[in-house]
């Protein structure tokens, strides 16, 4: 089937893009001021250990050979040892990846759903008070400064009202309790996720709402809406079953386009909420000059974004029957 070929082609494209990003990173790490070795070797190491490590990473070789070593290492998942944790960065990041993916996908999914739902209503009630309120509300939420909002959310919902835990991903008292089953643990994670999720949704749903609204307004002018009306369908059916699915397609595209934006927001959210994800790890590694960790975290985030883009494309194809690759 065509879809398979499309996915294959996109995978090749992703590989190429990833390769370019890797190369750019390689160049950047060597362009940066100071000693490139000091970026790869823990400064607290003894000179001979540093030399051995350099040799194993090929840092004593000419640039071209170094580059090949680098490619080989990344390909085999050997992205060095974190200065800070003293463990292979890949282990650390693989431990964090599920947390990021969980928060990231849920937040995008939920904010897109909410955006589509409210955008649909706004367009349907075009020009009425509901529409004005929703549009201005969306604009307002969309432009809120995320970390600031996050802190206010913590203050209000976690501290003042006390509905949610303050930060983190799990509460130890549940997890150290041998009697707690998986359901209690899952609920505990959900409970912790609620606040960061709310923050992300609040920031992101606005743009989806606006896209959905204008796309829905376009769709409502389409002929098949008249057909649907002529068929005597109920207004709600027309809105939800005929207008919304068509109007939602551009939202899917805009999800793809705003992925990079979302992952920025994800990193900020993870940092403020102490959510043990890759974005937080990247911020952390940057402030601790843990170069191997920073590099690997960035590469993995790049992969996440690229793959998410692919998923969005496939989803689009799946949702829009006119597109068959």
């Amino acid at each position: 089937m065509g879809l398979k070929r499309f996915v294959l082609r996109r995978l090749v494209e992703i590989a190429v893009i990833f390769f370019v990003i890797m190369t750019v990173l390689f160049v950047l790490f060597r362009l940066a001021p100071g000693d490139p070795v000091s970026r790869m070797v823990d400064p607290s190491m003894t000179p001979e250990d540093a030399r051995l490590l350099m040799e194993s990473m090929g840092l004593d070789q000419p640039l071209w050979t170094q580059y090949l070593y680098y490619l080989k290492n990344v390909a085999t998942g050997n992205m060095g040892v974190s200065f800070h944790y003293g463990e292979p960065v890949i282990d650390i990041l693989m431990n964090r990846l599920p947390n990021t993916v969980l928060l990231f996908t849920t937040s995008i999914l939920l904010s897109a759903l909410l955006g589509v739902f409210l955008g649909k209503i706004a367009a349907w009630k075009r020009g009425q008070r509901t529409d004005t309120l929703l549009t201005i509300g969306a604009l307002f939420c969309h432009t809120l400064f995320l970390p600031w909002l996050a802190l206010i959310m913590i203050w209000f919902f976690a501290y003042r009202v006390g509905w949610f835990p303050i930060t983190g991903m799990v509460s130890p008292d549940v997890w150290i309790d041998p009697g707690a089953g998986w359901l209690a643990k899952a609920l505990d994670v959900l409970h912790h996720m609620a606040l960061p999720l709310m923050t992300l949704i609040l920031i992101h749903f606005g743009s989806y709402l606006l896209v959905m609204r204008s796309s829905m307004l376009d769709t409502l002018k389409d002929d098949y809406i008249i057909t649907a009306r002529a068929k005597g369908l109920e207004e709600k059916t027309i809105r939800d079953h005929h207008a919304a699915p068509n109007a939602a397609l551009p939202v899917v595209t805009s999800v793809g386009l705003s992925l990079a934006f979302s992952i920025n927001g994800g990193a900020l959210t993870e940092t403020v909420f102490t959510w043990p994800g890759i974005g937080r790890e990247l911020v952390f590694s940057v402030s601790h000059s843990d170069y191997p960790l920073a590099q690997a975290a960035f590469l993995i985030i790049a992969i996440v974004v690229l793959v998410a883009n692919l998923v969005v494309d496939v989803l689009y194809a799946y949702l829009d029957p006119r597109i068959r690759y």
Binding site: T227, A230, L233, D320
Partner: protein
């Protein structure tokens, strides 16, 4: 005379604009009998589609029915509630849309789009029965059942039109409004579609309003013809009467062009220059007065009333039937 299936009396429809109400349909009356078909002919923008939409209760939000009534099977379509209108739609009056339009929703399978109409109006029907009906409708319009699962974009233009026809027939309506169903199809497909429509209409004894800008097409399928110009009906009669002895100068121009069709292209430039789109009422006089070869001072000053040529043939021109 048996009671008409649909009887439209003095229907006037206007659009609200910044400068008041612009009349799109002005004082139109006609009737359609069961098994009969009325062709509404006129250039684009003359208000014929607006009439169709008004009968379906699908006028744009800024359109308003100024006056008139439309009795359909004993009910006034203009006065019924929105909910009642919704029940009438498709169940009793359905519509065949233009093929070039996006009348089918691109993201749903055609089968679903057809069965949706059936389920809406006959909610008690079992899923099996609905599927059966859908299949037989496809049989009827001669599309292989295997294509029920396809999406609209997978069909050719003619096939899509057949799907639309099948859809229109889904609930066994008593009146069908066909709005330019053959426009933008090539001639051969157009003929197939026309004959198909004609067949169903006769076989199922349906009333039909056939809207087209093409007199030739209307002449093919309809028992009655109403000619519209600038929001008004200018001539109304049986097919024979209108085609054979057109009373109105505009009709004469149309018929004239029709006759020359086979030989050489008619010089239509003189006819289709219009001055005031739908704004018939605004000018005060006969909207045709500037291009009508027989126009007089009177035409410029006031509207013409109906002149009955025969019991069924009426023309809105003071000089009709009086020779040139």
């Amino acid at each position: 005379m048996t009671p008409a299936l649909l009887e439209v009396n003095n229907l006037s429809i206007g659009y609200r604009t910044a400068g008041g109400i612009a009349m799109a349909v002005d004082d139109v009356s006609f009737r359609v009998d069961r098994g009969g078909s009325l062709g509404l002919v006129g250039e684009s923008g003359c208000g014929k589609t607006t009439i169709g939409m008004a009968l379906m209760g699908l006028l744009a939000p800024n359109a308003t029915i100024v006056s008139g009534q439309a009795r359909f099977e004993g009910e006034d379509l203009i006065a019924v509630s929105g909910e009642r209108m919704r029940q009438i739609r498709w169940r009793r009056i359905s519509m065949i849309f233009q093929a070039a339009m996006n009348a089918l929703n691109p993201v749903h399978r055609v089968q679903d789009q057809i069965s949706e109409a059936i389920i809406t109006h006959e909610p008690d029907l079992s899923g099996h029965a609905v599927a059966h009906r859908t299949r037989s409708l496809f049989d009827l319009v001669k599309i292989p059942e295997s294509r029920l699962q396809d999406y609209p974009h997978q069909f050719s233009g003619g096939m899509r039109q057949r799907v639309i026809i099948a859809m229109a027939l889904a609930c066994n309506p008593s009146l069908i409004i066909a709005d330019e169903p053959t426009t933008a199809l090539d001639v051969i497909v157009q003929n197939q579609i026309l004959s198909a429509i004609g067949t169903f209409q006769k076989e199922m004894n349906l009333g039909m309003i056939f809207i087209s800008h093409d007199l030739a097409v209307v002449a093919d399928v309809c028992t009655h013809i109403g000619v519209m110009y600038a929001g008004r009906m200018v001539e109304y009669g049986s097919r024979q009467e209108v085609l054979d002895c057109p009373g109105h100068p505009y009709t004469r121009m149309l018929v004239g062009s029709l006759l020359t069709l086979s030989d050489q292209p008619a010089d239509l430039s003189g006819i289709f220059v219009t001055n005031g789109e739908n704004g018939a009422a605004a000018t005060g006089g006969c909207p045709l007065n500037l291009i009508c070869p027989d126009a007089t001072v009177v035409c410029r000053r006031e509207q013409a009333g109906w002149v009955d040529l025969t019991g069924t043939h009426r023309v809105r021109c003071p000089y009709a039937g009086k020779g040139r």
